[in-house]
């Protein structure tokens, strides 16, 4: 809602002078103020003048010489406009006046005649777009005739204050100046002036008949016949208010309808009676029926749409838009002003389907006031009489088959305390509700009568809201209840521990969008049958590049890494924890939580020397650390070629034999596709297995006996994973093994082609005794023979 303070003042006298205070008042009522500003005149020194005489200029035929009475003197002013004669009341910029920022009016010579000022047009005064002639005030501002010589700004109501408020969807009654005034009157406890709608009853009787068949869709159809209008521009005061209201002035008939709508909230529509005929019907459309609407679009209708007809064919889509065939146009003289009450869901369904949301439809879908329909038509008729020479019929048409009456709610006073936590007695409560124009009888429960303009008030709790709003939230004392506790669920704590560990390892968390595109999966070079290829499409994506729900976190991270590196900052170590979306068997997609990280670029050299770039062991190190942090003891790594990774530098990650993810260096082509150079490391894994509650860990007392520590090195096939050796050694060493560490990997020289040497440091310790040399020798023999039998490995050196 956009409007000015002067319009408010027409209906209610509020004890507020500061513009900001009124903004605060609107807010306290629940009407959010988007903007307010003081409207100052864009001029100074402009007065009301009366043209006494107009004569030709001796040496110029495009201008005329006027004698203008400006109160204390009569000025000769040269004027180039021709839209007036002697007798015109006009705005005059006298010498010294300033228009706009800095256009100062002075006496000046125009072809030998002195011009003592300027008669002004709308555009020169910043009061509109009209530039073709000067403003003539006689009919637009009749009061100006009695104000010759006075400040012209006052005539047009400046200065004023502009407000734009957002009315919440539950308050259709406040989508009008009068409706907001009603709320202000309640707040300040001042009377709301009557609406002032009156129609001169002296015209010819009504000759249009209305038959409503679609009663559910059109519970009430009212209207007023107006004859003898002249279609033309509206007076300035009306156009000015429409402009402040954000509505473009069109012609007096359209403008009157819009003006009345901003003023009182009820949409109306004018039919050209000459083209409409004298019968109006309201019925459901026939499937396939068409109508050409005011915007010259042909619209196909369904039986769920309600139409206004000329008795036979549709002439308007009810509550949504009028038809072109009966549109008021230049030359129209006789109109019928429709003001109906349309069923909100019907209007919404139709306007949504036709993608045709008009100001009228958006109001009807929220709910207009069925009790106001005749007044709505009357107000337009009244305006047309005033500004377009219209003669209204003496009585309105009113077909009211729905007969929607005010309803009542039984309100127990205990509801106030139950919901708000404060006690208000019957008198206080009644008073609050009556200020809001609810009817109230009884003591407890109160019987509250709700006016038809308040479709949002149906239940006691709706009245609680009204009571709270007017009583003021400040009047409700604060209290802080405590919940039963429960704290962070286990899973949440594990997620935090994981994040903390990864951050502690040097990674920066990013939050990427949950959308990817086919191109991202192509960049990852995933095979066509890869699970990540079966992403769920978005019906209405923001753009083509983000048309699929992400099935992997890697593209987002890789793009972020590339962006980060492109800014010439050091290495990118990024991670993300979030959901991916995969088709599943349930109603909803599978939405597992994942962790992914990438390392790209090269750490900057330090004074101790150049740092190594990243490689796959950076990923495995993080994985091992995470398993430590989470006390996961059955984790393993299985070397496999896994896209999108380097086929020889990637692995699956397992917990208890279940694959939970993969890591590796990205395939160089994939890295390049994301604009990354060098070895880029990535990892992505499902978090479900990691956040399982494995119960508290159990204490193992450290042995007090000394260990036996020795090294063993084996020559094995180059393809034998170190982890296989470790598994065999663990099994062979049994309970005595306390620690095992791979400390050397060696190929070449003395080692045959296709083989490698792996050296282990082994620490044995018993819990109950000091180990002897014989104990150690036995374990060494056992390890050596197991490695030999199971992996074909050969011990280097002696047993």
């Amino acid at each position: 809602m956009k409007f000015t303070r002067s319009w408010i003042d027409e209906f209610v006298d509020i004890p507020v002078t500061e513009a900001a205070d009124l903004a605060e008042a609107f807010e306290s009522l629940g009407h959010e103020v988007e903007e307010w500003k003081i409207l100052e005149p864009a001029f100074t020194g402009v007065v009301v003048g009366k043209v006494l005489d107009v004569s030709a200029h001796p040496d110029a035929d495009k201008v005329r010489i006027t004698k203008v009475d400006v109160g204390d003197e009569v000025l000769d002013i040269i004027c180039g406009a021709w839209n007036f004669e002697a007798g015109a009341i006009v705005p005059v910029a006298v010498p010294g006046a300033v228009l706009g920022e800095d256009f100062t009016i002075t006496r000046r010579d125009i072809r030998g005649v002195t011009s003592n000022g300027m008669i002004c047009s709308e555009i020169e005064l910043g009061l509109g777009d009209e530039a073709d002639g000067i403003m003539v005030l006689n009919t637009d501002y009749p009061s100006a005739a009695d104000a010759i010589g006075s400040d012209f700004a006052k005539i047009v109501g400046l200065p004023d204050v502009y407000y734009e408020v957002t009315v919440t969807p539950n308050r259709p009654d406040c989508l009008s100046v009068y409706g907001l005034c009603r709320d202000l009157a309640a707040l300040y406890q001042v009377p709301l002036r009557p609406n002032g709608i009156e129609v001169d009853p002296s015209g010819e009787p009504n000759d249009v008949t209305v038959v409503v068949d679609a009663v559910d869709q059109c519970p009430r159809f009212s209207g007023r016949r107006v004859r003898g209008i002249t279609v033309g521009p509206s007076p300035h005061w009306l156009r000015w208010r429409l402009a402040q209201g954000g509505v473009r002035p069109i012609s007096n008939v359209v403008d009157a309808s819009n003006y009345a709508m901003i003023e009182f909230g009820h949409p109306t529509h004018a039919f050209d009676v000459e083209r409409l005929g004298n019968s109006i019907g309201v019925r459901l459309a026939h499937d396939g029926e068409t109508i050409t609407t005011l915007d010259d679009q042909e619209r196909a209708l369904l039986a769920t749409d309600v139409v206004v007809t000329n008795g036979v064919d549709p002439v308007a889509i009810g509550g949504v838009m009028g038809g072109a065939s009966t549109e008021v146009r230049a030359g129209t003289t006789d109109v019928f002003i429709e003001a109906a009450y349309w069923d909100p869901p019907t209007i919404l369904v139709t306007s949504k389907r036709l993608a045709l949301r008009s100001e009228a439809s958006s109001r009807f879908e929220r709910g207009a006031d069925p009790s106001f329909s005749t007044l709505g038509a009357d107000r337009v008729a009244q305006l047309l009489a005033e500004i377009a020479g219209g003669v209204p019929a003496p009585s309105a048409v009113d077909v009211n088959p729905g007969n929607i009456e005010p309803w009542t709610i039984s309100y127990p006073l205990s509801e106030t305390e139950r919901i708000l936590g404060i006690q208000l007695d019957s008198t206080t409560t009644s008073n609050l509700l009556e200020r809001l124009t609810f009817g109230v009888t009884g003591e407890d429960p109160l019987t509250v009568t709700v006016p038809t303009r308040r479709p949002d008030v149906e239940r006691p709790v709706d009245l609680v809201e009204e009571i709270a709003r007017l009583h003021g939230f400040d009047g409700i004392p604060d209290s802080v209840p405590s919940g039963p506790g429960g704290g962070l669920p286990f899973e949440e704590r594990r997620l935090r521990a994981i994040r903390e560990a990864v951050v502690g390892a040097g990674f920066y968390e990013t939050l990427n969008f949950s959308f990817i595109g086919e191109a991202d999966l192509d960049a990852l070079d995933l095979p066509h049958n890869h699970a990540a290829r079966s992403g769920i499409n978005i019906v209405n994506p923001l753009n083509d590049q983000e048309g699929v729900m992400r099935t992997t976190l890697l593209p987002g991270l890789l793009k972020s890494a590339a962006t980060s590196l492109s800014r010439r900052t050091p290495e990118a170590m990024l991670f993300e924890m979030g959901k991916v979306f995969l088709p599943g068997d349930g109603k909803l997609p599978e939405q597992p939580d994942r962790l992914a990280f990438v390392l790209a670029g090269k750490p900057e050299p330090t004074w101790e020397g150049a740092a190594e770039g990243f490689d796959v062991y950076d990923a495995s190190g993080i994985w091992e650390m995470l398993c430590d942090v989470l006390s996961i003891h059955d984790a393993s790594v299985r070397q496999e070629p896994i896209p999108p990774f380097h086929p020889w530098r990637s692995a699956e990650l397992l917990i208890g034999g279940v694959v939970v993810g993969a890591f590796g260096e990205l395939h160089p082509s994939v890295a390049a596709a994301f604009g990354l150079q060098g070895r880029v490391v990535g990892c992505e894994l499902d978090l479900a297995e990691l956040v399982i509650d494995r119960g508290p860990w159990s204490y193992i007392p450290p042995s007090v006996f000394p260990p036996v520590i020795f090294d063993m090195a084996f020559i094995v096939d180059a393809a034998t994973p170190a982890t296989d050796l470790a598994v065999v050694i663990r099994e062979a060493a049994g309970e005595l093994l306390e620690h095992l560490n791979v400390f050397d990997v060696f190929t070449g020289e003395s080692i045959r082609e296709g083989e490698k040497s792996l050296a282990m440091n082994i620490r044995l310790r018993a819990g109950d005794r000091t180990l002897t040399d014989d104990d150690a020798a036995e374990v060494r023999r056992s390890i050596a023979s197991s490695i030999s039998e199971r992996l074909g490995g050969e011990l280097r050196g002696d047993l």
């Binding site: 629940g30 951050v503 997609p589």
Partner: protein, 341 residues
């Protein structure tokens, strides 16, 4: 007759008299060690003198001579030890000088990254509510139209259901639309279906709207939803709880005000504004849970009342950290991420 004057002791006294000068001349620990060996070592005159004690037959004489030898040995030993201490200290000092480094060079520091500021914000706010006795729940981001709208009393015809506002997924048999939740509120219904009151829970999470990215909008953002349902919960409880939150999060002097608003799933509804950094800022939406929502989840609206609130994490972070353009929160630039300490 005394044995003090025996030859060996005399010799030793001469030795002792010469010792200070010899010891003082020594300039390294090694030299001192050699002098020590020479004076009191195995082959020293002192050792020899001790060996000769056995030959003294008179017990008293032997004892007196032994004591004299010992005293001389102790004196020499003290001299040597004192000098060795001084020389060792000098030698160590000389080594330390050679060890000198510039300790102002950058240290070898363990890497440490950052949590995203949105996550930090979320965690911090969660912790505030955990302190008030709430627990935490999370829910699906791809959600049914029922939970996102219908269960929250949002009419079938409400414009927020339009594709211009809500992102829909091409999924399932179309009996029911699947969409990306537009708020964390669906978890209100899901949580209440699964748990009986008293219900005190916060729900953090990602939410989605059909908005292009600009300074104040993003199609993906984060909310935290709160819900407290119990017997006797009132609007005063809502006000007190949220005011307490604002003071804990923005500082103890933070002022708040509540102004009426509208949400389909609360009645009455309000917005909380907070006065921070010299201006009033709209912080969050809240209200008393609408009885219709209780009916959807099987809570008795006659018996229970409750309040709900929802706040944007981006907004909270932006207000507190002076971020004026939401796009900063989407930036993976290291110079931005490093600030999220």
């Amino acid at each position: 007759m005394t044995t003090d004057n025996s030859d060996s002791v005399k010799e030793l006294r001469i030795l002792l008299a010469a010792a200070p000068e010899r010891v003082a001349r020594a300039s390294s620990v090694a030299e001192i060690d050699a002098i020590e060996a020479d004076l009191v070592g195995r082959a020293s005159p002192i050792a020899n003198a001790r060996k000769g004690l056995g030959a003294i037959t008179d017990a008293d004489d032997r004892r007196a001579t032994g004591k004299a030898i010992n005293d001389i040995a102790v004196e020499i030993k003290d001299l040597v030890d004192e000098r060795r201490g001084a020389v060792a200290s000098d030698e160590q000092n000389a080594r330390l000088v050679g060890d000198a480094v510039d300790v102002t060079l950058p240290g070898r520091r363990p890497r440490r990254g950052t949590h995203h500021v949105i996550r930090k914000t979320m965690d911090e706010i969660i912790d505030i509510f955990v302190g008030l006795g709430y627990t935490v729940a999370t829910g699906p981001e791809a959600e049914t139209e029922f939970y996102n709208f219908t269960a929250l009393n949002i009419p079938e015809t409400h414009p927020s259901r339009l594709e211009s506002d809500t992102i829909y997924l091409d999924y399932g048999d179309k009996d029911e639309e699947i969409l990306l939740r537009t708020h964390t509120s669906p978890m209100q219904a899901r949580y209440m279906e699964e748990h009986d009151p008293p219900t005190y829970v916060v729900v953090p999470g990602k939410v989605f709207r059909s908005d292009a990215v600009d300074a104040t909008h993003s199609p993906v953002f984060h909310q935290l939803e709160g819900l407290a349902v119990d017997e006797g919960i009132t609007f005063g409880d809502l006000k007190g709880t949220l005011a307490s939150f604002a003071k804990q999060y923005f500082g103890s002097s933070t002022k708040v005000k509540f102004i009426p608003h509208y949400f389909p799933f609360t009645e009455p509804s309000a917005e909380m504004h907070a006065y921070t950094n010299g201006q009033w800022i709209e912080l969050l939406g809240c209200g008393m849970v609408d009885p219709e929502v209780f009916k959807h989840v099987g809570y008795d609206p006659e018996k229970f009342t409750g309040f709900a609130f929802g706040m944007g994490m981006e907004r909270m972070a932006m207000v507190r950290h002076g971020i004026t353009d939401l796009r900063a929160l989407l930036d993976p630039d290291r110079r931005v991420l490093e600030q999220y300490r």
